[in-house]
Point group: C2
Chain length 363, copies 2
Amino acid sequence: MKRRSFLIKSAGVGLASVAAAPAVAQTAQKVKWRMSAGWPKNLDAIYGSAENMCKRIGQLTEGKFQIDVFQTGEIVPYSQNMDAVSNGTVECNHVLSTAFIGKNPALAFDTGLSFGMNARQHYSWLHYGGGMDLLREMYAKSNIVNFACGNVGVQMGGWFRKEIKSLADFKGLKMRIGGIGGMVLLKMGAIAQQIAPGDIYASLEKGTIDAAEWIGPYDDEKLGLNKVAPYYYTPGWFEGSAALTSMVNKAAWEKLPDTFKIAFETASNEQYMACLAHYDALNPKALRELIAQGAKLSLFPKDVMEAAYQASQALWDELAGKNADFAKIYPQWKAYQKDQAAWFRVAESPLDNFTFRQLNKDQ
Amino acid sequence: MKRRSFLIKSAGVGLASVAAAPAVAQTAQKVKWRMSAGWPKNLDAIYGSAENMCKRIGQLTEGKFQIDVFQTGEIVPYSQNMDAVSNGTVECNHVLSTAFIGKNPALAFDTGLSFGMNARQHYSWLHYGGGMDLLREMYAKSNIVNFACGNVGVQMGGWFRKEIKSLADFKGLKMRIGGIGGMVLLKMGAIAQQIAPGDIYASLEKGTIDAAEWIGPYDDEKLGLNKVAPYYYTPGWFEGSAALTSMVNKAAWEKLPDTFKIAFETASNEQYMACLAHYDALNPKALRELIAQGAKLSLFPKDVMEAAYQASQALWDELAGKNADFAKIYPQWKAYQKDQAAWFRVAESPLDNFTFRQLNKDQ
């Protein structure tokens, strides 16, 4: 009851601020929005990316389009962030869409699927491969206009209490994991669990869970999981890259002057790469520190990777068989990914692999 | 003589349009600039990226900051694009800085060095690793403020009339190549030549040169080089990625209202990824078509890659020994690259390599 009245009140405030703006002189209009981020402030890279985006929008509009960022739980809990935008409680959010696959598994195409496209390929699919049109069509049914406003890159594969020697070690393994990767894990015989970040450490320490994935070295370091689960596996195949989304309430969006729409879209596009590049700047040092503190870094065994890949493909086929959005997006997405993979194997990957190997020898 | 008087006249026009703007009401001010692109219009991806950037700047400023793009040769030939910005003939350009290494080899850090950072790492170095500050300091001496406004990714290694079986085949090889890669080739015993794009086909056909690198499949296809030099080698190690630069005349920049500066910077950052993603969308199909037309795609032999890598490292040491800018930037850049390589080997590359291999098997 309390929750409901709060939602209604917030919605009123949000819409009023838009409706009050004069429709005539667009350039003189002032708009104030709220962005509900899915992160606490201490996840400073990802939360900071939301702040940087809103700061940029302010700069581009001479302060006339002001968006205040709220950390997770301040307005709604993470799980209600999509509803909050749909119903106008807030004008926009800053989330990983994969958190809402319970509503519609096809939302996973927005964040990225397991063994999906990398961050650069995903941007290409969205903006030059028809991906954004497909996602917008899906989101429109929820009264939302979506923007890809960041990416954290390939995540780490998580912290494990015991060494993973082969696929057999995944049978019955209780792992804290978010998003569509959890559905893949189930197919591999493991047990996926949803646990709030603040409870991961204690759950691993007590042995309530055997493993937990969080994000990458920079964010993982803050949770101190290496002390209770020293085996640090890579790569985080759960998402080929994890793109961040800002969902915007459709009615609020349509009331914006064109210049503000452009400012929002441009700042979002800018943050896609900025967020990724910032993580790339932060992760190397954090990884070194984690290793110095006892983290045992290993690649997942080959049979684990192969089983996860096969389980993923089987899952996509199943989901395409029972969800219309998934059925529509999947073949188009898959064809684009195959093209990208073929192309990256020709120029990018051979040079990356050669150069990285040489630099490693030089060290 | 004609050239000189044209330059002076252009400079006058450019500066007048800025000086005439009122200093008081920044939002009412209108500014019109010229951007001299290093490309003909028919290189539509790269030229289009310059146009998209300027279009975005227009949209962000409600048409008040208008930048018209001119194709190569319309205002000045490519080789004079840096001088043209330095002396105010044009307010800005759209180029690969590596074209101007004759003035200062350290300009190569802006486009990217042979076996240098990939497109994503380069952006991280620029914006989160101190790279932009180092480049700005260097450019300031030429009266220029620089922006990274695009990237074409790893290029192809070029078209060869004969098969390259080993490093020995590079001895005496006459190759058309731009940028710092030409200096590396010299160390490998080859002969680097500068030939205008329009003359590459005839030079290969006649045998005046043995090989030529241009850009990547999409742009290469337009030159039809597969008909006269069927061996298509990869990867283009000459630059780990090739970042595009917009150099801006410092005086013109300083006269801009803050909002226009922000619009320019944001549109430039947006295009960095947009240009790259657009090329990724275009290259796969072009490569397939080239192969269908007879291009014989091969990886450079291992000894060629290793010799090119060693020659590159030797060249950087030499250049650092005789050029103050190179000496200042190189150690900082190299340390950042090593960190990035170590990090990419942990998460990004293992997942990319695994996924690309699997997708290739599936096809």
